[in-house]
């Protein structure tokens, strides 16, 4: 085993990912090569330092209550979907009835038609903006 190969395998050894067959020649090399032995000791030190890095953790209570909060949120989303969906259907039905009814005054039909048209225009502008924004996305190159 040469030094280059040994240095590559030292990492796997430290990570406990080296097979027995690969470990034996590495140990033999380390017993005779001082430079690789030093590299091994340096890598152990680096490994310990990286292991010792801690990030700020949420409280135990947050971990404990997370699943409950999650399902409350999921139920809330379900409720919202039903509510908004039904509301839109009701609105569409009411508009339809309003337009087909011969009793509705023409001026009212024009005003409500204008409101509906305005809403559709605003919605399409918003969708177009989102599409343009996604085309100029700074994170486009990020591998997902």
């Amino acid at each position: 085993m040469n030094c280059e190969e040994a240095r590559f395998k030292i990492n796997a050894l430290i990570d406990n990912e080296l097979s027995r067959e690969d470990a034996l020649p590495l140990f033999q090399h380390l017993s005779t090569c001082e430079s690789c032995r030093n590299e091994y000791l340096e890598q152990i030190e680096l490994h310990r330092s990286l292991k010792a890095i801690k990030i700020p953790e949420p409280t135990d209570e947050w971990y404990e209550n997370f699943p409950k909060r999650l399902f409350r949120k999921i139920s809330g989303i379900g409720g919202r979907i039903f509510f908004i969906g039904s509301y839109i259907l009701l609105l569409a039905y009411a508009l339809y009835q309003l337009f087909v009814s011969p009793e509705t005054e023409i001026i009212l039909k024009i005003i409500i038609g204008g409101l509906a048209l305005g809403f559709i225009i605003l919605l399409s502008v918003s969708i177009t903006d989102r599409i343009k924004e996604s085309k100029n996305d700074n994170y486009k190159g990020v591998i997902r």
Partner: protein
Amino acid sequence: MERKLIIAAKKGDREAFSRLVRTYLNKIYKTAYFFLKNVDDAQDVCQITFINAYRHIKTFNETQSFFPYLYRIAKNTCINHLRKKHSIPLPDPEQIESDPEYSPEQTAIKNYTIETVNRALARLPENSKEILMLKYWNDLSYREIAEALSIPEGTVMSRLFYAREKLKNTIIQLEDSK
């Protein structure tokens, strides 16, 4: 065991899904914190990640590991979060602490090293930081990292090797410049 939980969760068993959540919550939190560098944002991302996982669990293939699936959702959620904020978080070495379990003698060496290691880590390319995060914060094996990043195990090994080499060289540069 995990497979049974996934099958049960696919049938709508909330308790089974809760157990999966408890198993992976800490790892997902660490992943989100790595990308966002903010506790509150990371907590929000955890919630969005598990909601999305729950919504799409019926299409998940239970013969595969669950963590890579969650990892990809969490990473995408973090990217969307950053996109909304229009900013990339700067590394925050102040918030990262040393492990209190070390003996005082060891801590003296480590505090010095950890500060330098942190500064050096902040200077690494994103893919090097990401693979070190998966290895050290999430304590994943090469196989698990390979699944999470959709790359071969050999590539994990070489990326980790080069990430550590870069880190070591950066530490040396930082110490020389003192």
